[in-house]
Subunit: 220 residues, 2 copies
Amino acid sequence: MTTDPTATHTQIPRRGLLLVLSSPSGAGKSTLSRRLLQRDNNIAMSISTTTRPPRPAEKNGVDYNFVTIEDFKKMLDENAFLEYAKVFDNYYGTPQAPVEEALSQGKDVLFDIDWQGTQQLAQKAGGDLVRIFILPPSTEELERRLYSRAQDSADIVQKRMSKAAQEISHWPEYDYIIVNDDLDHSDAQLNAILQAERLKRDRQTGLLKFVSNLVDPDDN
Amino acid sequence: MTTDPTATHTQIPRRGLLLVLSSPSGAGKSTLSRRLLQRDNNIAMSISTTTRPPRPAEKNGVDYNFVTIEDFKKMLDENAFLEYAKVFDNYYGTPQAPVEEALSQGKDVLFDIDWQGTQQLAQKAGGDLVRIFILPPSTEELERRLYSRAQDSADIVQKRMSKAAQEISHWPEYDYIIVNDDLDHSDAQLNAILQAERLKRDRQTGLLKFVSNLVDPDDN
């Protein structure tokens, strides 16, 4: 098992990061996200705010923050979202305040969003953002995964392929690319990216103080 | 054991990278370099060119490329070095041609150089460069490691501490910082950085072709 490398060693205070996972439908993103959240206790899924009504099993503040359209529009006016979208008649958005609080405490936040949300996030998050795109290993595998969902008409499958191709076309906007031909392998790659990004100099905000103590302990 | 994640999976052709490890004397850099080279068969140590005479056990082309001062100066005139230095009466340099060849074949090259060499390398290598600085965990540990070398005079130890402090002062010029309080842990962090850097979009030079085949297999 890979353990959190910061757990029992020298802890340099650091700023958290925003980890974005994007992929076409069926590339394994949800499974990889779930594994990541289970393994690593210093990263949490971003909770979106939405105007759509909760489904029976959904809990407010856990699955979504459920708000009225009026509240959502007020937050929009206050520039309170890192990114948002309107899907049919419902609004979905990522409120900035809880994300900023997590980052300043050295906690990382995971986003399962598409290229449009990622573009918006990039505008506001700058260097805090780490963007990973997950590709399927082959056309055959992509088709197999899109077909296997249900007994869909050829028309619907064609629409999905077209949507997948459109999503995939945005791969150059991401920092890292993982080809998911094996879940364990991709999982390890995802973990390596997260561990490495945490070691970046400019995220380790406590380094200046640490080094001062190191070379000049009497001054402190 | 961590295996090479590119070994048995989808191989996207990529450009190699230059991995620089710098640290003050006694921070564990040599041990970490040796472990990395033993574990990973896609990275090799850069072989320096030098004008100093070979020692009995040293082999030309393995430990160093041994050349005359005239040859070295001719290479200098031809701008053939990525970085070089004169130490006492001897020249040491990293020839550019073999490094460029390795990179274009997707092979990575490891450098065990100080901040001065790193600054020169950065001028020529740009985005191919990945700079890691290794810090000792504490002043006590740094002193212990510097003292333990031999029965040195207080004067010599003081000089070493001063040199270490000077080297450490260049940590802000590096991309990643590892605090080496545990060799296995630092080894894993080093490996995570290398694996992550290999997954960066702009190093995976075969992605455009891979994605074209993915979304439009009949066109290819």
